[in-house]
């Protein structure tokens, strides 16, 4: 048995280049070979100052102190434009790889950080309480095939979010350290213990399984074969990261380059709860976001897998259209989000915020966030979303065939 398997492996490596893990992604029509990257903008990013309705007088009426000046906005069309801090995203926009979604939310919005992010991450209705993340539910109902290091990796947060409640999720800061330390995880069987102890035993099991895959050395030859690069152009040392968000991007890219198979990565960028002096903070965070996503694209293009990567941002809520007295904004509802990737059909989707006549109120949503999840589950992975989301949601036409 062992010899035969070794033989097949050698055969695969030598003759059938397409059997190498790095090449299988592009060939598979759909399925979990494709990667979903979720970017959490924690704290509730202010969508109105991210995708700016610069043609609206109401916008400047509601935001006399913090409105982004018309001449600073990076125009997307005659009505809206990006915050100038997001200049890193403009090449994607010009290349039609960036979908800008306006008015993403859900009915009967909740304005609590904690409840609202729970609604997003469990994909529940506003008055419904679910205990598992939407991705945990998907992977339980329609599991990943064998050979994956984990269902997903979590970067920049200790909180598993949509992977909470059962998915095999690995929280990573540094893959090398992880593989080395994993030797400390035991191999006891779970069962017959308190919930607390069972949880610890399960995590030990996930660690052992993931460690094996994550500690595999890089396979640069496969990448070169795929992209027809000569060795001198091969992505060798990753670029030096600028800040924690870029560090997380590099960690993810390195992991994928080393051949670790995962279906999901969730990266958290935190600090968006801007009740006061918003513009300084948001400017810094959006710069990190835009430059980080541009770096992700560059890295995955070099690996030849940008076409099999779908990136979606999310957050608990947007913020109040009318600024508060501290050059900040309070909790709001519907929000702007980005979807990007090599197969994304770039453009504007949803509805430009309806600000006319608004004073203290909040925005209505035009896109239910579960429509995005349905699109990812069905059109991206080719799985069924009905049971995961509890009902059918109209999918968004944001992907190319």
């Amino acid at each position: 048995m062992f010899q035969r398997r070794e033989f097949l492996k050698a055969l695969g490596a030598g003759l059938m280049v397409s059997a190498l893990p790095n090449l299988s992604y592009a060939l598979a029509p759909a399925g979990y070979q494709r990667l979903l990257v979720l970017i959490e903008l924690k704290g509730g990013n202010d969508g109105l100052n991210t995708v700016v309705p610069y043609a609206s007088d109401d916008y400047y009426r509601l935001r006399p102190a913090i409105g982004i000046p018309r001449d600073k906005v990076l125009q997307l069309d005659q009505h809206v434009g990006l915050n100038p801090a997001l200049s890193g995203l403009m090449p994607l926009w010009q290349n039609h790889e960036l979908a800008v979604l306006q008015g993403v939310g859900y009915p009967e919005p909740n304005l609590s950080h904690f409840r609202s992010i729970e609604i997003w991450e469990t994909a529940s209705a506003s008055n419904q309480f679910l205990s598992d993340g939407w991705l945990s539910r998907l992977f339980r109902q329609q599991p990943l095939p064998a050979g994956f290091a984990a269902d997903g990796v979590v970067l920049g947060s200790q909180n598993l979010g949509p992977l909470d409640g059962g998915a095999r999720a690995v929280v990573l800061s540094n893959p090398q350290d992880f593989a080395r330390q994993a030797k400390l995880a035991g191999d006891q069987q779970a069962g017959g213990h308190s919930d607390a102890l069972s949880h610890i035993l399960k995590v030990e099991g996930d660690i052992r399984q993931a460690a094996d895959a994550l500690s595999r050395p890089a396979a640069p030859s496969a990448i070169m074969a795929k992209t027809n690069m000569n060795p001198a152009d091969a992505p060798t040392a990753p670029p030096k990261p600028n800040g924690a968000f870029q560090q997380a991007i590099i960690t993810l890219a390195t992991l994928l380059q080393n051949g670790a198979r995962i279906a999901v990565a969730r990266i958290t960028l935190t600090g968006f709860d801007t009740h006061g002096n918003q513009n300084n903070t948001q400017n810094r965070l959006l710069t990190e976001l835009g430059d980080g996503l541009a770096l992700l694209r560059q890295q995955l293009q070099a690996q030849g897998r940008w076409d099999d990567t779908l990136v979606m941002t999310y957050a608990e809520f947007g913020r109040r259209p009318r600024e508060n007295g501290n050059k900040g904004t309070d909790h709001g509802t519907a929000n702007s989000h980005f979807v990007l990737g090599g197969r994304v059909k770039g453009g504007l989707y949803g509805q430009t915020p309806q600000l006319a006549g608004l004073t203290d109120g909040n925005l209505q949503h035009a896109i239910d966030f579960r429509q995005l999840y349905a699109t990812a589950i069905e059109d991206w992975w080719g799985k069924d979303a009905r049971n995961v989301l509890g009902s059918r949601y109209v999918k968004l036409p944001i992907l190319r065939a």
Binding site: H113, Q158, L197, H275, N324, G325, N326, G328
Partner: protein, 480 residues
Amino acid sequence: MKPLLPALLLCLVSTLARAGIGEDGARHLLSRTGFGANPAQIAVYAPLSREAAVDRLLSHTVSTALTSPPGWVNEPFDRPNQGNLSEEQKKALQKERNDHAQELRGWWLEEMRITPSPITEKMTLFWHNHFVSGLDKVGVPQLMYQQNMLLRRYALGNFGSMLHAVAHDPAMMRYLDTANNRVGQPNENFAREVMELFTLGEGHYTEQDIREAARAFTGWSLDKDFSFINRPRQHDNGDKTIFGQHGNFDGDDVLDMLLQNPQTARFVTAKLWKNFVSPTPDEAALKRLSDLFYRDHYELKPLMRAMLLTPQFWKSQGQLVKSPVELTVGTLVTFDLTPPDWRAIAGLNRQLGQDVFNPPNVKGWPGGEAWINSSTLLIRKQFLDRLQHDAAPIRNAFQQADGSMDEAKGREARINRLVQRGLAPVKLQPDEWSAIYQVRSAQDTARLLLAVPPAQPLPAGMSGAQAIGPLLLDPAYQVH
């Protein structure tokens, strides 16, 4: 025969009730209400009844810290974000703040290690995770120190008084923007979180209650030294409608309304239960406890006494995941260890997800199973692995022929070691530890260290000292 039986039973029951809680019971009580359980303390509590043990804990509480704080805590400080500083001055100020923050964390962790009343520190930590403020936003370590003093003062006092005090606390007022909330320019941050996280819990108020309460809190401000000041001209004197009541309410009126609502007693009681007893709520017990809490006008000692005397508490071994601080400081307490630099322990706890004085957000650390993920579990194990790697070699030096331990020789060795080298006890000493505390066998070690049997059975024939390493790395050491 017949009339004897009830009398016998009665006798049996009262004997059981009076019987000591034993080593298991003592370890459970100490670990849950403090940090780890030192064998010397276990010996003190083991012979006591449940009532006597809980009463002993609650009669030895303190309201101030024993460890002297860093010198700068009472020095005047500059306001953060001053516009007139050069880039270099700003950097220097930021560095000083970071250094101070790290010293402050070390100071508190050391207090947890040496305090004569671990339950006082445990409750202070609980309130830090309830009335959350974080250095990230507060910016000034001095203010976080003052808030820590406040939380310790009320830790086992009156919840209502603590709520009023916290609402006027400068660190809190910066953290939740109370100081920026003015008439005509309301900032809802504090009004929302005081209802959602400090008193009622989600679902027990409306968005209108929040908007109107925010108006009531206007006028509370900070002066240039960051002391509380009431600015009547910034207060909204209009009528407000909060919880169906109309009037020109101010902030303290709103807090009183929140305390009048028994839901506040229920919310706080359930959170204490989850922290001290079990992740599973027991509706009947919670109702009884929260009724008592409400009737007692939010006095915390009687509530904690009643909670620690519930049968559920004494059956809950192994149901809670140890928090990072419980794991790290608790291990140091258990083995009489003192690290050379507490800032390193603070850094470790930050990696483990519990950066004291800087919880992740206003809801605090979620705790429970969320403490453990693949990253944090490995860092926990690394810490414990390191501890046993660095330990003195095990020679079973104080074991006697009959299997008993020579306690006197163990103590003598410890004293000689400390005197000769002038060292703080930083290194785990398995031989001395097992001699001094009469740990004869691996089973003895397991009883002192674990709340539940080890997940990985120990090889036969291990001595008490030899069992320490494998038991520290056993998954069961992560729960209590």
